[in-house]
């Protein structure tokens, strides 16, 4: 029964061979011996048909893969499941009759190598498929009595129809190992108990399922997580909106007709964008310190009697970071808005003026919608950027002042700076990973939804 169906399809394939390739699942039963051998010896068909270099590449990758798989791969895969079984420590050596120390397993490396092994297997399967496709091409071309492509032909194709391969191959490998692997790794750690009391190589950590998530959302960590999450959201909204509104106002101020030296003003504001953030924030932190110049000058003038705790009082510090953030962010909005303002059609505004609209109405109904329209995507990006705004908090307050109700967090800590403390100072990696995943899910969902909305508004096909 099955055989009959195949032959039917086979006939169809033969009639329009150019369009339809034989599916790889059926290729084996149909093709000639060379192709069949390619299923076991990758590149066999290529070598036999004088595509030596290509064939050797396939063959060598197969040999390399098999060697790796049996010497490392299986071990790595088992390691990924167990995350290590041998604890480091003393063990009794019966031959010597004494206790000797043994190194033990490193759960961290087991996890990393295990994940890399899964990726390498994926790459192996991909190469295997390419090998089969290549063998199929040879078989089909031969069946049609056509010439097989030489190395030179392949090279020319790479520079023409397959140019994308040349351009994309290295970046994609880079993304696999420097983006996908870290993401998968971070996500995996969230399901383990990798923290300061389970540090490899001295100790092992293991898979513990969802309990970290429970701990953060409803357990003891919630007391820190929820307030920090709340402040992160408040901060992101306020920082984005204030930069946007005040940036527009600044641009309009500079664009006022009759203002002298508008270019000078613009240059001054733009200058501040050029200064590396670690410099400008550290200088601000110095100036705003309890003993810093601003407090001292105000004291000397008799305006205040004691220092204002710009960075050391919870509530004040929150306002300070918002205000200092304006110093960095407003010029960027100003720069872009100026571009938009100068491209606004004068006709439309004149028409509105003739109809008796006042300045505020013109702004509300013509100027502002235009600005919003152009800047919507960058506003979304800014919002996401602010949720992850590490520099401003870390450099200005360091997350402080410390809040004794929180676990290793201060009043101005955002999720991302808290995460920094958790990983680099207290080594609570699993907690940090859970927070990371939560940030990622939130920002990804939010921006995908918003971009969809914006694209619809702007009439772009998503």
């Amino acid at each position: 029964m099955k055989g009959k169906q195949l032959t039917k399809k086979d006939k169809k394939l033969q009639t329009n061979n150019l369009v339809n390739d034989i599916p790889l699942t059926q290729l084996y039963s149909k093709a000639d011996a060379d192709t069949k051998l390619s299923y076991f010896l990758m590149g066999f068909s290529n070598i036999k048909n004088k595509q030596i270099l290509k064939g050797l590449f396939f063959l060598i990758s197969e040999i390399g893969f098999i060697y790796w798989f049996f010497s490392w791969g299986i071990k790595s895969l088992i390691g990924l499941v167990t995350l290590g079984t041998k604890k480091a420590g003393e063990i009794y050596d019966s031959k010597l009759g004494v206790y000797v120390s043994r190194p033990g397993d490193n759960s961290l490396l087991f996890l990393l190598f295990g994940l890399s092994a899964v990726m390498l297997i994926g790459i192996g399967i991909y190469l295997y498929r390419i090998n089969l496709k290549s063998a199929r091409k040879i078989y089909q071309l031969k069946a049609e009595g056509k010439k097989l492509p030489t190395l030179k032909d392949d090279w020319n194709e790479l520079l023409n129809d397959r140019l994308y391969l040349l351009f994309m191959a290295i970046p994609i490998i880079g993304i696999l190992f420097f983006t996908v692997l870290p993401i998968v790794y971070t996500m995996s750690v969230a399901f383990t108990n990798y923290d300061h009391s389970h540090l490899p190589p001295g100790h092992l950590f293991k898979w513990i399922g969802l309990s970290n998530f429970g701990n953060i959302i409803a357990g003891p960590m919630a007391k820190t997580f929820l307030p920090v999450l709340g402040w992160t959201l408040i901060w992101a909204v306020l920082a984005t909106v204030s930069n946007f509104i005040l940036g527009i106002m600044l641009a309009m101020l500079i664009n006022t007709k009759g203002i002298k030296g508008d270019k000078v003003y613009r240059t001054i504001f733009i200058l501040t964008m050029a200064i590396p953030q670690f410099i400008s924030f550290l200088v601000w932190a110095n100036m705003l310190n309890d003993a810093g110049i601003i407090n001292r000058v105000l004291e000397n003038w008799g305006v205040i009697s004691g220092p204002i705790h710009f960075l050391t009082d919870g509530m004040t510090a929150k306002m300070t970071v918002l205000v200092v953030n304006l110093w960095v962010g407003m010029p960027a909005t100003m720069l872009v808005t100026t571009g938009i303002l100068q491209n606004l059609s004068a006709d439309q505004i004149e028409a509105a003026q003739i109809d008796g609209a006042n300045k505020f109405q013109i702004f509300k109904n013509i100027t502002f919608p235009q600005i919003l329209f152009v800047m919507a995507p960058s506003l979304i990006q800014q919002f996401i950027g602010n949720i992850n705004n590490f520099n401003v908090i870390f450099l200005l307050t360091g997350g402080g002042p410390t809040n004794s109700n929180f676990y290793r967090a201060g009043d101005t800590d955002l999720l991302v700076t808290w995460l920094y403390q958790l990983t680099l100072n207290s080594q609570d990696y699993s907690l940090a990973s859970v927070i990371g995943i939560i940030i990622f899910i939130f920002t990804a969902t939010f921006s995908l939804l918003m971009f969809k909305k914006v694209n619809k508004l702007q009439g772009v096909n998503g």
Binding site: L108, L109, N160, D161, L163, L166, F167, M168, P171, G174, T179, L181, P182, Y185, T186, V189, T256, G258, I259, V264, Y265, I268, F269, I270, L271, T272, A274, I275, P276, F278, I279, S280, L282, N286, M287, N289, A291, G292, I293, R296, V297, W327, L335, V336, M375, A376, P377, Q381, F390, V416, L419, L424, A432, F440, T443, A444, L448, F451, V460, G462
Partner: protein, 281 residues
């Protein structure tokens, strides 16, 4: 009516002047501090009582391990190499995504959009542990890798630029028998010069501005630090900050000058980047 208008202009002018003053204040402050002879992290006056160049000299001659010259060379090395690599990568990726047809293009665009939202900071921490597991931390090459890999995801501005080059140019060349590669090198690249300069300089300035990636990767090995890590460390501990703040200011001024010049040159691209390079999934 006219009087009102004049009033408005004067008010705007005054507000702008005050704002401009607030904006330049920290800049002038840090420049003045770099020339201050009397010690201490905090002062109660704006202008130094005694002026000196010692803070600058200290950066290059001190024996306390604050090896500014070495940091400068390190940063230059990292930024040149990662600048070259990222430019090649992102121009290639952007061109492919804008001009070439292939099966996984749509998938890649969506994938890059989502993966790009994974906080870079988080990836950094995991990359750090990957590098550490492979014994690659404390090396400038690790930093080069870290700065370059992101290029494959940062192609939006460049893609936006390629999108604006008319397709008819390509088609005409194709009729004349040019291959894709020839079209890319002979037609597209010469037009794309501005965006190449933009990409290269953007990638070049990154390592001068970033301190946190470098700090995490390079750890305590002072001879491998970049300028940013070094300067940050000079003032991050309380014991050092008191004596080193003026030298920190001097070091900041030294790197801020070239970056500012580059930036002012680049700012027109910045506007185009925000307005034209907006993410479209």
């Amino acid at each position: 009516m006219k009087k009102n208008k004049l009033h408005a202009i004067i008010t705007s002018q005054v507000i702008l002047t005050i704002l401009a003053f607030i904006w330049v204040l920290p800049i002038i402050f840090v420049i003045l501090q770099s020339f201050r002879a009397e010690g201490g992290q905090f002062v109660s006056y704006f202008f130094p009582k005694h002026w000196t160049l010692d803070n600058y000299k200290y950066l290059f001659t001190n024996k306390d391990g604050w090896n500014y010259g070495q940091w400068f060379l390190n940063t230059l090395f990292v930024s040149v190499i990662s600048g070259i690599i990222s430019t090649f990568l992102s121009i290639g990726v952007a061109y492919s995504l804008s001009r070439l047809q292939f099966k996984l293009k749509g998938f890649y665009l969506k994938f890059a959009l989502i993966v790009g939202m994974f906080p870079g900071f988080l990836s950094m921490i995991s990359i750090y542990y990957i590098l550490k597991a492979l014994n690659l931390t404390n090396s400038l090459w690790a930093l080069v890798l870290m700065y370059s890999y992101g290029a494959a995801l940062g192609f939006y501005v460049q893609k936006g630029f390629f999108d604006t080059i008319p397709q008819s140019l390509d088609e005409r060349a194709q009729i004349d028998g040019a291959s894709r590669w020839q079209i890319f090198t002979k037609i597209t690249l010469p037009i794309a010069k501005p965006i190449i300069v933009y990409t290269a300089l953007g990638a070049f300035t990154g390592p001068w501005m970033d301190f946190i990636f470098a700090k995490v990767v390079l750890g305590n090995n002072q001879s491998k630090w970049t300028v940013a890590v070094g300067l940050f460390t000079m003032v991050s501990s309380k014991e050092n900050a008191n004596s080193l703040f003026m030298s920190f200011a001097a070091g900041s001024v030294l790197i801020a000058i070239p970056i500012t010049i580059l930036f002012i040159w680049l700012q027109r691209f910045f506007v185009e980047g925000v307005t034209a390079g907006s993410v479209k999934g």
